[in-house]
């Protein structure tokens, strides 16, 4: 096993962020439960937050932290409205499968 460096390269953090973002896209594309699709979007937002904070470290400024704080606020608002929409959809259609929620198609 190779020796670990004493400090972590910035590119490791950014690569981790990229991996998590791609996992979020994969969940968004492949899953059919609308709640899981929504959670994949949250995973993508988290990945972007990690990038913001890594760049904040690199530039020695606190601005990246503030941006990711705003991302959190927007995610909270989005979760509240999105879950309310999911509740309404389920009340009217009795399903959470996105393949069956296609009445806007055709």
């Amino acid at each position: 096993m190779p020796a670990l460096p004493s400090s972590v390269p910035l590119s490791w953090y950014l690569t981790l962020s990229a991996i998590l973002f791609v996992l979020g896209i994969a969940g968004f594309l492949f899953r059919r439960n609308i709640i899981t699709v929504f959670m994949s979007i949250e995973l993508m937002l988290n990945a972007v937050n990690l990038s913001f904070i890594t760049f904040s470290y690199k530039l020695k400024q606190v601005d990246g932290h503030i941006f990711s704080f705003f991302v959190m606020v927007v995610a909270a608002a989005e979760a509240a409205v999105g879950l309310a929409i999911i509740l309404t959809v389920f009340k009217n259609r009795q399903t959470l499968e996105i393949d069956e929620l296609s009445s806007l198609k055709n």
């Binding site: 590119s11 791609v22 896209i25 439960n33 899981t36 904070i53 959190m72 608002a77």
Partner: protein, 165 residues
């Protein structure tokens, strides 16, 4: 020590992220997402973001995930069925791997490899510095987010009450 801690929490984050995508039951996916968020909070702490690590745990892993779990249990969401295999199933995974490879190549080419993250070198992530920046430079955006939250609350109440035919 820094690299070891990074490896541990990065491994937790990636494993939980894969688990989120692979699990078929929404409640398992939600628990995996909590794992990702906890690991990310630890990584924020390594990067010097004390306030944002606490906010990550309280707002994301606490409030937002409780909302998700609440809705999953309210709707009694079960295991998802096997759907038909669309083109996204076949083309998606290779395309995503290509995307990840391109991003990784771009990152490693454009960043100097010598520069590293040491715990304790970034001291501007404390609540003091964070609050000073938030309430001076970013005062207007901060006030606008309060309007956004208000609109979201009203929208959620209206949407959850309405009966659409």
């Amino acid at each position: 020590m820094d690299a070891l801690l990074f490896m541990i929490f990065a491994a937790i984050a990636v494993v939980c992220g894969i688990s989120l995508v692979v699990q078929t039951h929404p409640i398992s996916s939600a628990l995996s997402l909590v794992g990702v968020m906890g690991a990310l909070a630890a990584l924020y702490l390594l990067l010097g973001g004390e306030f944002i690590a606490a906010a990550q745990l309280v707002v994301y892993a606490g409030a937002i995930m409780v909302l998700f779990v609440f809705v999953i249990m309210l709707l009694n969401a079960g295991t998802e069925h096997k759907g038909r295999r669309t083109w996204a199933k076949y083309a998606g995974a290779p395309l995503l791997l290509v995307l990840l490879g391109l991003i990784a190549i771009g990152i490693t080419h454009h960043l100097p490899a010598s520069e590293g993250v040491m715990f304790g070198q970034f001291t501007k992530g404390t609540p003091l510095e964070f609050g000073r920046a938030l309430f001076t430079t970013y005062l207007l955006p901060f006030e606008v987010t309060s309007v956004l939250i208000l609109i979201a609350i009203l929208g959620a109440i209206v949407l959850a009450r309405k009966e659409i035919d």
